[in-house]
Symmetry: D2
């Protein structure tokens, strides 16, 4: 696993509080898992958009950071997320891939699925949310 | 205050857990306040992007919902947030305004500032984050 | 080919002026081609972001419209595009897929590549631009 | 007027072809005007989203470029645009303001209105489109 990326997860208290688990983190790809708790929900009983975007954003940062040199780190400049289907599963799986790692900018995208199987298959019929994340590469 | 909008805040457990306070909520405008706790931080000690987007998204939903009829409600379709300055203040203030309330779509934007004064003045030099949120209007 | 989608291309004068060609248009997927002309360029001699987003947006609309009933049509609510690599090829190829077709909202994404081969392979190393498009489904 | 910003408009062939006129360009603000021609329209007879985003993107670049040093220039990294109301006026006016000018990143937003008066008043009830644009600052 990428050491730079790993630290980004371990040192982020909000991500620790949520309980995001890293499944894979290397070569521009980051897969994560989140077990849903009751305090993550919004007014209709689904997972709040803010929890989904935290998962999508941080995993995208992981994907980008797995391509960094030891003296580099990434920081989110902006992201955009579409919420496609209500998040009502007990677990959430996020697949993030770095689309471009430039000298000062990286771009990654994240897809959130309701199960490990649908994530592995990248099954669009079950896609819960999709994010595109612009990262600044800092030295 | 808008009753539909108020319920959206009170029933959302994640927003309750964060401790988002409503300052104003009427006529397409929603102002909220969040007191920062240590578990909101990311790896560099600033407020995590996911906390900022939760505040921005939910306040935008409040702005939209303040224009709804009693049988309508809003749900986030997508949002995009730019992170302009590191969030290191102890409190965050969010100003949200509904740009358009259509029959099936509403659009709102949110600005996060580090103090009540900078929010009141909508002082761009201190703007921490800016979101645009697309909402579905459901009946 | 989807008849609803086809008309959307034939009746759009700006898309006709650009010269966008439809390669495939069915089952939620739309592939298009654009031959670059000198008047499409920006100040550095690359294709202008506005030309890229027109191609991405309209092709995404095509992908969505290929799933419509005869009495439905789509209209762009919003889109977001990341520009990953300078567009300096003589032709541009756009691959669009509909991620979700709901009753009132559809979401599609578009990827622009510099050649037919890189589009067919969806080769991320050559990806020029990536868009996510939210469409209103109107009756 | 900002010289760096001015050149960005004069050298961009696509923007010249559209006929974008600069009204003001200084101190982080850029106002532009576009007279609608028939070849700008989409399938329903309104101005195509791609024309609107070209105007919004290029004007945002102008707003950012007006704050640059002589050896700097800006390039769009990404943008997101919401289309709020059908563009059916004969002229379009765009108001762009730079929200932040950093060392390597700038962020600007653009609002498109149907008349000079509605732009001057920044009258949200007539807002046609709103964009947020992330710019890379290059040296």
């Amino acid at each position: 696993m990428s050491q730079v990326g790993l630290e980004m997860f371990q040192k982020a208290k909000f991500v620790q509080w949520l309980g995001v688990e890293i499944l894979t983190l290397e070569n521009g790809i980051c897969q994560t898992k989140l077990t849903v708790r009751e305090e993550f929900l919004q007014q209709d009983g689904f997972v709040h958009a803010g929890v989904l975007t935290t998962l999508a954003d941080h995993s995208a940062g992981g994907a980008g950071s797995s391509l960094l040199a030891a003296n580099e780190r990434v920081l989110s400049v902006e992201f955009k997320t579409n919420f496609l289907r209500a998040a009502k599963s007990r677990e959430l799986y996020c697949y993030s891939v770095c689309l471009k790692k430039g000298r000062s900018i990286a771009v990654a995208e994240s897809e959130i699925y309701p199960s490990s199987e649908t994530m592995m298959a990248r099954d669009l019929r079950n896609l819960i949310a999709k994010s595109t994340v612009t990262l600044a590469v800092l030295t």
